[in-house]
């Protein structure tokens, strides 16, 4: 899989997720324009991206979704529950396709149909709701034509064709019509009988297709196993000079034995422009040749029909062969005989068609293809169904009723006879259409053939009379009346019909056209629904994956980001050189104006650089959910192990911080949560005894406070008893006796962070080794964070971590001491004061001063750094004092002078210097000098 596709897939999953979320949000706020717009943007982008690849199925659905969203966005379609369902369905489908692409690299043909159906239902929604709908884009008619997923039965096939007749208002697809020659027709017939499905494909390219880079002709030529084809122009070109060569008027028609899958694959880009209909074998049975210049004597016909009805096919075949040898091969009758022979060979059981065909020799009338096939199909259907049902019991009645002299006709044939009549009646009942005349002729021909087959020759005259009348009036009434008359005169017909319920569907198929259409529409959608269900495990898997997908949002290699970070760091340094330059311009070269201009320019660059820095830091931001997500499982496991009941609540999972911070936070947090579970929360019995809910509550909350992230872990457990802590600390020698007295409860509780401290009496696999909280504290401090704890006995404990959002850029204050400059991280600086020498006082050989009513110990920086010099006061004999907060206490560090604050990229010391205490790192300054940044915590 190439990188582009990979990116497309991962991106698209995010989009799908986004679309799903937005749809959900829309459900509660359907009027929201911003939501709509964003949703549209998602779908739009996704569609555009999918177009880069060869996934027409996906693009088509997305395109329809996009159109729908666009309509909704512009208020042309109102938002509805149904719409959400449809869109979610469509997105699920796209998700399935993506799964498939990911595993196999392509989309299987099987999805083409679903894609078309989904697209149609989306378009329908658009059409139905929109006032200026292009209704024809999704008429049921078209749907019924394009796909017959399970139409194997001839009957169903023709139900659909009948729909064609009745609804022929907007469709450009016609009924299948082909002029074959005998060889091709016979080949098709053989294929169809042999089990191949013969498809009629009509491909009407849309007029603009040439502009889409399509070549419909080429596409048509790609269809395999084509036995017949032709290309047509939709209409005559009115004026050749004005002909638009780039507007397609073409129609391609073919008969192929290619499989449905092959066809779907070839036409996968234009599924709405083709019509594919399966043609039943018997539709090809048409005799060819010149017609009226030959006569076959009645004797032969009667004899052959007799052979067939007696089941003596060998003799029938023999007699036909003899007749063929006597006739000229190009004659119509010869062609017919060849057909008869072929049918006897391939369909020996189909006596009815054989008879009908042979009887045609008498009438010399070409049978209408569709009507003939329908008769035969209904005949064959009824023959099949009647055999067990309407059997011999009716024989006697029928003979009487019809007064037939055809004594050898069996009951099956008679039952079929009425079936044919009923079928013909149904054909005539179909609402009027341009084909009426042809249909009436075909009905009459069929009736005549039927009567001949049943040896009721005297009735033929009446039929012909009725036909003439019908043609003259252009109404099917006379014929219908005639059929009704015959049917009425056969009182046992109802018995036949009752005995043969199979006939009901035949009637319904023609009369209840709308029902048939609906079924065709409904079927595919239900199929799709089922398929979605089938693949539900996939959805489940994807839902689980999403968390990792989210964390993968940082698609860029981290090294690149780091490099970007370094570059912006250098940029900041370079930028910081400008004030120096301005300074030099003024002091060294004495150009004050230039200095001012440089400063103005610096302001601009400064702003851009800061923004850039900010943005890059945003890139590195990760939500805390990255570490939070493992807690539910962990808490569950541990509480199970400890026999405690714990309810975990996570809050503020979307709070973001720098990736490094988040990663560094992971281990300390696990420590803390374990501690809370182990030491904090009591077992259910103890809790109930203390009047608390048996289920303990553990809340992990992340919030952002200006430029820091605050993470709190709050439990409602037993809390920490400060006296116990003090005692333990004293026992372990962590504090002395005086401290034991002096420490406040809060300070005492914070002793848990002291190295080597543990309150647990028993060492368990969870905690109690005394390496818990101090490790947490040092880990947090390493990333410039602070940690604290508050506790109330019996009520619970609140542990909080305060962390910088980012550790990339550090704001430091530059101080001067011993003619050197040093940096001190600003977040440790509480204040800077100038303390007059007179306010200094010594307590226990240590210098102190009183600031705002509290005693602050003073330390000399030179002394801390083991420099022999005394600190230098200013002209007013005041000492520059930097008050820093170390472990919650204020300490004054006496320096020589204060300078400005700068943003620097702090580089930790490496190599030999790495082991040097007292410094947190070094940074490059704008003038190229190196700034050592102090770490007061280690220093003091």
């Amino acid at each position: 899989m190439n990188a582009l596709l990979e990116q497309f897939l991962s991106e698209s999953r995010d989009f799908l997720q986004g679309i799903g979320e937005k749809l959900m949000q829309l459900e509660s706020d359907p009027e929201s324009i911003p939501l709509m717009t964003e949703l549209f943007r998602f779908v739009h982008t996704l569609k555009g991206n999918s177009g880069l690849f060869d996934f027409p199925e996906m693009t088509r659905v997305l395109h329809a979704s996009e159109d729908l969203m666009d309509a909704v966005r512009h208020g042309r379609v109102s938002y509805s529950q149904d719409l959400t369902d449809q869109l979610l369905d469509a997105m699920d489908f796209v998700g399935i396709l993506m799964d498939e692409i990911e595993t196999t690299g392509r989309i299987g043909n099987s999805h083409a149909t679903n894609s078309v159906e989904l697209t149609k239902s989306l378009r329908e929604l658009l059409a139905a709701a929109s006032t200026e709908s292009e209704a024809h884009a999704a008429t049921p008619h078209e749907i019924s034509d394009i796909d017959h997923p399970s139409v194997d039965q001839v009957l169903e096939e023709f139900a659909a064709v009948e729909v064609d007749f009745a609804n022929d208002t907007t469709a450009s697809f016609g009924e299948p019509a082909f002029e074959l020659n005998e060889a091709v027709a016979m080949a098709l017939y053989r294929h169809a009988i042999g089990g191949s499905r013969v498809f009629w494909v009509e491909y009407i390219p849309e007029p603009e297709c040439f502009f889409k880079g399509e070549d419909p002709f080429y596409l048509s030529r790609q269809v395999p196993a084509v036995l017949w084809h032709q290309s047509l122009l939709q209409k005559d070109i009115p004026s050749l000079a004005e002909m638009d060569v780039y507007s397609s008027q073409l129609v391609f028609q073919l008969l192929t034995i290619a499989t449905q899958e092959e066809l779907d694959d070839i036409f996968r880009y234009v599924p709405d422009q083709i019509q594919r209909i399966e043609i039943p074998a018997l539709a090809f049975v048409v005799p060819f040749g010149s017609e009226h210049d030959d006569t076959i004597d009645d004797e032969f016909i009667t004899r052959t029909v007799g052979f067939i009805n007696d089941g003596n096919l060998e003799r029938a075949s023999h007699s036909i062969r003899t007749m063929l040898e006597l006739s000229a091969p190009e004659l119509w009758s010869s062609s017919l005989l060849r057909w008869a022979q072929l049918i006897i060979e391939l369909e020996p059981d189909n006596a009815l068609i054989q008879c009908a065909l042979i009887n045609q020799l008498r009438t010399h009338e070409p049978l209408d293809l569709v009507a003939l096939t329908q008769d035969i199909s209904s005949k064959s259907a009824s023959v099949d169904s009647h055999l067990p049902n309407a059997d011999l019991p009716h024989e006697h009645d029928e003979h009487e009723a019809t007064n037939s002299e055809a004594s050898h006709t069996d009951a099956t044939l008679m039952a079929s006879f009425y079936t044919v009549l009923t079928a013909q009646k149904n054909v005539l009942s179909v609402p009027a259409s341009p084909w009426l005349a042809g249909r009436m002729k075909s009905v009459a021909t069929t009736l005549i053939a039927t009567y001949r087959a049943t040896h009721q020759v005297d009735e033929i005259e009446h039929i012909e009379h009725a036909l003439q009348q019908a043609l003259a009036d252009n109404t099917s009434q006379p014929l219908l009346a005639w059929i009704d008359k015959v049917l009425d005169s056969a009182p046992e017909l109802s018995d036949i019909q009752e005995a043969a319920p199979i006939e009901m569907p035949i009637e319904q198929s023609t009369q209840e056209v709308s029902v048939a259409t609906e079924e065709v529409i409904l079927d595919p959608s239900s199929k799709f629904g089922r398929r979605v269900e089938d693949t539900s495990p996939h959805f489940g898997r994807r839902a689980e994956d999403t968390t990792t997908v989210v964390s993968k949002t940082l698609k860029v290699d981290q090294e690149k980001i780091d490099r970007l970070m370094n570059l912006i760091g250098e940029m900041v340094v370079a930028k910081n050189a400008l004030p120096y330059l301005a300074n030099r311009a003024e002091t060294v070269f004495g150009v004050r104006d230039l200095s001012r201009e440089i400063k103005a320019q610096y302001a601009v660059i400064n702003r851009v650089a800061e923004e850039m820095q900010d943005t890059i830091m945003q890139v590195r931001m990760m939500p805390v959910s990255f570490i939070f997500q493992r807690f539910p499982r962990m808490v569950r496991d541990i509480s199970r192990k400890l026999g405690k009941e714990v309810e975990l609540v996570l809050e503020g999972e979307s709070t973001e911080a720098d990736k490094n911070i988040i990663e560094a936070l992971s281990d300390p947090l696990i420590h803390i949560v374990r501690n809370s579970l182990d030491h904090g929360l009591e077992s259910p019995e103890v809790r109930v005894a203390a009047g608390k809910n048996a289920t303990g509550k553990l809340l992990i909350r992340a919030t952002q406070e200006s430029d820091r992230v605050l993470i709190e872990i709050i439990d409602d457990g037993r809390g920490i008893n400060p006296n116990v802590i003090k005692q333990k600390a004293y026992e372990k020698g962590l504090i002395d006796e005086s401290a034991l007295e002096r420490l406040s409860d809060e300070e005492a509780v914070n002793l848990v962070f002291a190295a080597g401290f543990s309150t647990a009496d028993v060492i368990s696999d969870l905690s109690g080794r005394g390496v818990g909280m101090d490790v947490v504290r040092s880990a947090v401090e390493r990333i410039n964070g602070t940690v604290g704890i508050e506790s109330e006995v019996g009520k619970g404990t609140r542990l909080y971590l305060s962390l910088p959002l980012s550790m990339a850029v550090t704001n430091v204050m530059i101080i001067e001491s011993n003619e050197q400059i040093f940096g001190v991280p600003m977040d440790m600086v509480v204040e800077t004061v100038r303390v007059p020498r007179v306010q200094l006082s010594s307590i226990k050989q240590k210098q102190t001063t009183v600031l705002r009513g509290r005693i602050v110990p003073l330390l000399s920086l030179n002394e801390l750094l083991a420099l022999p010099q005394e600190q230098v006061p200013n002209e007013d004999d005041e000492f520059a004092t930097l008050v820093v907060r170390v472990h919650g206490e204020h300490v004054g560090i006496v320096v020589d002078d204060f300078r400005e604050t700068v943003d620097i990229i702090l580089k930790p010391m490496s190599g030999i210097l790495g082991g040097l205490g007292g410094f947190s790192g070094a940074a490059l300054l704008g003038d190229g000098s190196v700034l050592m940044v102090l770490n007061p915590r280690e220093l003091i």
């Binding site: 070549d215 002709f217 290309s231 050749l240 060569v245």
Partner: protein, 77 residues
């Protein structure tokens, strides 16, 4: 060039693309008796097919490609 126009004969060679259609139409309109030679043609774009079907010029030579020849049989008058 996929179509070579001679005095009264247009010779189609190999693959005739969509961009030829306009010229082909103009040429056939200008030369109503112009013939087409498809002997070495393997495929013509549907736009060209449409022009040929609309005008039905005389075919001087049918394509050697049998499949194409069958498809173009519609041009026989």
């Amino acid at each position: 060039m996929a179509i070579e126009y001679k005095k009264s004969l247009a010779v189609f060679t190999e693959f005739v693309g969509v961009e030829e259609a306009e010229n082909l139409l103009q040429w056939l309109l200008k030369n109503p008796k112009g013939k087409i030679n498809l002997a070495t043609c393997e495929h013509i774009h549907a736009a060209n097919l449409q022009v040929l079907m609309a005008i039905k010029p005389l075919v001087a030579a049918w394509p050697a490609d049998e499949d194409l020849q069958r498809w173009l049989a519609v041009l026989e008058k």
